[in-house]
């Protein structure tokens, strides 16, 4: 059992979903990101996703795009992302990286998996890598004991879900909306159906993200999913009120994920 699966198991034993919080490395600054992530964990985040800032984030809405621009303008490099993982993982928090594919390929697929594992990272979410293109990635993550997280979408057929499930090792990321990251006032009922269809194909934990920002949404999702992923709302909170605001949002969301 990895730290990641421990966290899902602990949440389950406490009759709640795991709370997964996202923040790009280097936002609001290199040290500021570590401080904010620690505050999120203090507030009740179980699992941390550290975003690897990329110049062309086609899956991200304006909130995360702006944060990533600030991070890149501040000079964040891949080595800094891995260092951020190291600092957060040292506290014992299960820590993943969320990255578009090109930076990993350019850095070196094997090298990335190796250095992430050495830093204590437990897994990587790859929003624009589908299992069809993941041959080298599967080998590198297996060799280094790094979990790989692929996504399923509302538009995924059951056949696609089975393909994704077969290659995923950490948890399955179910996208709650058709669209980019960013807060939504309401979520489609189709997400519950997607989680149910995914359960038929896999015994892995299933976490729901994309558009999730409020404790009410977290509570609703927690009834049928194993994890609730929140990203843009943390970025927005930090923009407004720094680490303290991130902690307060985490506390509210942590109350929300109780069943």
């Amino acid at each position: 059992m990895s730290l990641l699966h421990d966290a899902f198991a602990r949440a389950k034993s406490e009759n709640r979903a795991a709370l997964i919080g996202y923040l790009p490395a280097g936002y609001p600054s290199r040290d500021g990101a570590v401080e904010c992530i620690r505050a999120m964990v203090e507030g009740g985040v179980d699992i941390v996703e550290i975003g690897l800032p990329y110049s062309d984030p086609v899956m991200d809405g304006p909130t995360i795009q702006a944060a990533v621009d600030i991070s890149l303008a501040g000079g964040t490099k891949i080595v800094d992302v891995i260092d951020t993982v190291r600092q957060v993982a040292l506290d014992g928090t299960p820590t993943l990286v969320m990255s578009y594919w090109n930076p990993i390929e350019r850095f070196g697929v094997e090298k990335f998996a190796q250095e992430l594992a050495a830093a204590g990272g437990v897994g990587v979410i790859t929003p624009d890598l589908t299992p069809e293109e993941a041959g080298a990635w599967n080998a590198a993550t297996d060799a280094n004991n790094v979990d790989r997280v692929f996504l399923v979408a509302l538009s995924s057929t059951n056949e696609r879900i089975a393909t994704v499930a077969a290659e995923t090792t950490g948890f399955i990321y179910a996208g709650a909306v058709m669209g980019v990251t960013g807060a939504r006032t309401s979520l489609s009922g189709a997400i519950q159906d997607l989680v149910a269809r995914t359960r038929n194909a896999s015994e892995l934990p299933i976490a729901v993200g994309l558009g999730v920002s409020t404790p009410e949404q977290a509570h609703e999702i927690a009834q049928y999913a194993d994890g609730v992923i929140v990203g843009s709302a943390f970025v927005a909170a930090i923009e407004q009120g720094g680490a303290q605001a991130a902690k307060e949002l985490a506390e509210k969301l942590a109350a929300g994920v109780k069943r």
């Binding site: 990329y54 110049s55 062309d56 984030p57 086609v58 899956m59 809405g61 795009q65 890149l72 490099k77 891949i78 594919w101 090109n102 930076p103 990993i104 390929e105 350019r106 850095f107 929003p127 624009d128 890598l129 589908t130 069809e132 293109e133 692929f150 996504l151 399923v152 979408a153 509302l154 538009s155 995924s156 057929t157 696609r160 994704v164 996208g175 909306v177 058709m178 669209g179 980019v180």
Partner: protein
């Protein structure tokens, strides 16, 4: 060298190590749907008849092959032949692909098209087809490009399209594609992304190529009919690479015909301010496919630079990467200044004002002619007309009042 390149891509959209699909899972179903609709359509006689009727009676195909006698004097005496895609309706090769995809959109039952555009040629062509077929049309265009190509912005709006200036990143074609992808992920049920070049995730590189192959098919036949021979070289400009693939493809099996793609050299590849992706980039993944990309050591895309909005793109279609890799085509940079020299020369010697994109290919032909000598016959894809570039050119040459 084999003619294997005639059968790429494979079923997953790979051209050797290039191409493929690097997209959010949310788009996989839509890409499968397009792939399926496309492969059914191109073997359906009713589809090909309808497309062919449009190409002849709406676009004005076949486009002529013009002997550029005067311009040839400046090309080492080599004979320069121009494939006149500038004479197509809407003024460039872009309409070939757009009409094909608009028909596909109708077949898939979608009611809205979105497109990215750099120079505005693809945007104008898409807005035109949307008007013809009664489709809602939204065109994403980098804010920088809306200024460089104000005439085309006005044309799109006259045709009823909504033009969205994109203010993220470098505010050029790359960012317009990002924004269009974001729109598509959110509206994929009703919307077809009418992609404008031979890049992007599979099946776009293959699909766009197939709709532009008509350029090379006509040109090859025109060469044989009128000159009873094939050219020594075929030259075309390459941004994403659609006009180049369109004219190259039919000649790939003709091993004695050199295929030369001209990339935008901007201020010069050595300055770092250029858009010569194959010459000056490295293998990577951008906008859904593996190809050459202008990028730094961390895989961050580096901004491209070119006087030509249509070539100002840090990626290139995967089939070009493949043709480069197997040695079947060669790619060379031409700078802003060189392209503008050819722009002026063609205007003054032949009475044809080319698009600045196309002027890169024309300068390429001038150098190639000098290398190959007076017996050589060089076919240039005159991919677009230069009306949209008059303001940029007037500024360059100091002709503005």
């Amino acid at each position: 060298m084999s003619t294997d390149s005639a059968v790429v891509p494979d079923a997953m959209g790979h051209f050797g190590p290039f191409g493929g699909r690097f997209v959010p899972e949310a788009l996989m179903a839509a890409l499968d749907e397009i792939n399926d609709a496309f492969h059914k359509a191109i073997i359906d006689p009713s589809f090909t008849a309808e497309l062919n009727d449009l190409l002849v009676n709406y676009t004005g195909r076949p486009s002529p092959l013009t002997v550029a006698k005067n311009f040839s004097q400046h090309c080492g005496g080599a004979t320069i032949l121009l494939k006149r895609e500038d004479l197509n309706h809407t003024g460039s090769h872009k309409i070939n692909n757009v009409l094909g995809q608009a028909l596909l959109t109708k077949r898939m039952g979608k009611t809205r098209v979105i497109a990215e555009t750099g120079a505005g040629q693809h945007g104008v062509a898409t807005a035109t087809a949307a008007a013809l077929f009664g489709l809602e049309c939204v065109v994403y265009m980098g804010e920088e490009d809306t200024k460089r190509q104000a005439l085309n912005v006005a044309r799109m709006r006259l045709l009823g399209a909504t033009v969205v200036p994109v203010t993220t990143g470098s505010r050029t074609l790359k960012d317009a594609i990002n924004e269009a992808m974001r729109d598509w992920v959110a509206n994929v049920d009703t919307t077809h992304y009418l992609f404008g070049t031979v890049a992007g995730p599979a099946p776009f590189p293959e699909l766009v190529r197939e709709f532009h192959r008509v350029i090379g098919k006509e040109a090859r036949q025109q060469m044989l009919d009128r000159f009873n021979r094939l050219p020594d070289a075929v030259v075309a400009c390459v941004g994403g690479g659609s006009n180049a693939i369109g004219i190259f493809h039919e000649f790939i099996p003709d091993e004695n015909v050199a295929l030369v793609g001209i990339e935008a050299g901007g201020d010069g590849v050595e300055t770092g301010r250029h858009a010569s992706t194959i010459t000056g980039g490295a293998v990577g993944v951008l906008h859904g496919a593996r190809s050459f990309v202008l990028q730094d050591d961390d895989g961050q895309t580096v901004e491209s630079h070119s006087i030509s909005a249509g070539l100002d793109y840090p990626g290139v279609g995967p089939e070009h990467a493949y043709l480069h890799d197997i040695g079947r085509a060669q790619y060379r940079p031409v700078t802003d200044a060189q392209a503008m020299e050819a722009f002026q020369l063609l205007s003054r010697t032949e009475g044809i004002i080319p698009a600045i994109e196309t002027a890169h290919a024309l300068y390429g032909a001038m150098s190639l002619g000098k290398e190959l000598g007076p017996d050589a016959v060089i076919l240039v894809n005159l991919s677009g007309r230069g009306d949209k570039d008059v303001e940029t050119a007037a500024r360059w040459f100091g002709l503005a009042e």
